[in-house]
Amino acid sequence: MTEANITIEDIPVTAGDLHAKLVKFQGQLDESNVDEKAKSIYQLIEQFPANLYLLFDFEELEYMNSKSIGYLTDWYGKISEGNGKIVIAKTRSNILDILQVVGLTQLINCYATLDEAKFALLQQGGEA
């Protein structure tokens, strides 16, 4: 099984009905681990069906397979249905390349730094 890890931290926000999380991805998401790792995001969506604001930190994410891109699209669909938001930060060029060709960068904005991503996430959430 290839190594991959997802850790979730709270992002402090002032609005009470808004749930902002920093989700750090590490390693390689492939067929051997992606279904297992995706569960943690689905649990989060289930826990906060509305106003969920996620900042995906891809700095240490080395590889995404097609299934993980499918999951990313699905997460986007579910979260935006609940008036939530996803932004991505510090994506490696190979992954950014894939996301662009797939068209996901038109749905999920990608930022060069965590601060920019956080700012964009929270401003779009009305928290700036």
Binding site: S66, G70, T73, L96, V101, G103, Q106
Partner: protein, 401 residues
């Protein structure tokens, strides 16, 4: 009427030429390679020669006539007819296709699956033309002019169309076989692994692609023979209405195949192909996603991704195939396709596409104030990514969705 044999054959040639010319005009209104069609047509006229030579040979050496041997062993008349018509089908279909295969090998004639179908239709027309001459002469001399009129009209319309149907079906599978490398790769990305060709390849010590090619050619030939035998059988029992229905439905199916984007796609690879600007591993991830979403019937998303990927890798035949197949799936212009969709509807047609989500996002963000910085993107995706067709290979097929 007292005609000399030469006059009789001359009239027969003119009469047989009329349906051939009408069909050729109808089928190839916009074609550029008329010369090669004439060559195939002329060549296929002479393809009746081996059929007659075979009959002649079996008359001289009846000990080699396996069919007569089998027929004498079987006392069921209907079964004998089936055997006869299958044997006729085998010989005629092989002969009709031999020319196409030879011309293709010699002149690299076939660039698309539709080329393979169309040139097979020309070969069928040539064969039917030659066959019609002999039938016209025989019917006229044996049964007279009144019988000839009915037979002539029937042969001109239905028998000629039937010949085109059989050859067209074979041509379709020959086209699939010819472009097996790309077709197999595209299908494997959708998870359809070719187990049977892999088994044949192991048994016969050949590559899987080569085994797949041979299986496709054989499949086309067997289908053409079965269709041919069935047509002859229906005629033998004078089942005219079923014959008419059979030919009309069969030809509509062929027309449907000819109208598909997949068939129009140029699959011949050129030496001066443009290299991909995307890393192979990254491109594979996207193609794998295409396979996944194609299976999930997300055809609109597949088309959009293909468009973007083709901007980076314009000559990727597998991606072109994905796009063409996805376009065929959502195409509503073909009546035959509509009937098929009614019978086998796509379950997920109403599911939200990425395009829908992008539009919704744009609407949501319209009222938000601008951020002081831009998102991190290596090359800005253009708005035209979604709406406009790519610039490449538009000559081969219409890329509008």
């Amino acid at each position: 009427m007292a005609e000399t044999p030469i006059t009789l054959y001359a009239i027969a040639v003119i009469l047989a030429l009329i349906p051939a010319v009408i069909w050729l005009t109808l089928l190839f209104k916009k074609t550029k390679r008329r010369g090669i069609q004439v060559i195939i047509f002329m060549g296929s006229i002479f393809s009746v020669v081996p059929v007659f030579l075979l009959h002649y040979f079996l008359n001289i050496f009846p000990q080699f006539d396996i069919l007569s041997f089998l027929q004498s062993a079987i006392h069921d008349q209907n079964l004998n007819y089936v055997l006869l018509f299958i044997s006729v089908g085998i010989v005629e279909e092989i002969v009709k296709q031999a020319l196409i295969r030879w011309v293709d090998r010699k002149f690299l004639l076939i660039h698309t699956i539709n080329d393979s179908i169309r040139y097979s239709l020309v070969a069928a027309l040539g064969f039917a033309f030659a066959e019609n001459i002999f039938y016209i002469v025989n019917i006229y001399t044996q049964l007279g002019v009144q019988q000839l009129i009915v037979a002539y009209l029937f042969r001109s319309i239905f028998t000629t169309t039937a010949h085109m149907l059989f050859s067209g079906i074979f041509g379709y599978y020959y086209g699939i076989a010819k472009f097996a490398i790309n077709i197999v790769e595209q299908e494997e990305w959708t998870g359809k692994h070719k187990k049977y060709p892999a088994f044949v390849a192991r048994m016969l010590g050949m590559s899987k692609i080569h085994a797949y090619k041979q299986i496709m050619i054989l499949k086309g030939l067997i289908l053409a023979i079965i269709l041919h035998a069935l047509f002859n059988l229906l005629l033998q029992f004078n089942l005219i209405l079923p014959v008419v229905i059979y030919v009309v439905i069969g030809f509509a199916f062929l027309q449907h195949k000819l109208s598909q984007k997949t068939g129009q796609l140029i699959l011949v690879t050129n030496a001066d192909n443009i290299t991909s600007s995307m890393h192979k591993n990254d491109s594979d991830v996207v193609v794998e996603l295409l396979g996944m979403w194609f299976n999930n019937k997300k055809y609109v998303d597949v088309i959009h991704i293909c468009q973007r990927l083709l901007e980076r890798d314009p000559d990727n035949k597998v991606v072109q195939l994905f796009k063409a197949k996805a376009m065929d799936k959502i195409d509503n212009t073909s009546a035959y396709g509509k009937v098929l969709k009614q019978m086998f509807p796509d379950k997920k047609e109403n599911e939200k596409t990425m395009d829908d989500m992008i539009k919704e996002k744009a609407l949501r963000e319209k009222n938000l104030k601008q951020l002081p910085f831009k998102p991190q993107i290596t090359a800005s995706p253009k708005e035209s990514d979604i709406q406009t067709p790519p610039k490449e290979d538009t000559s081969s097929y219409n890329l509008e969705i």
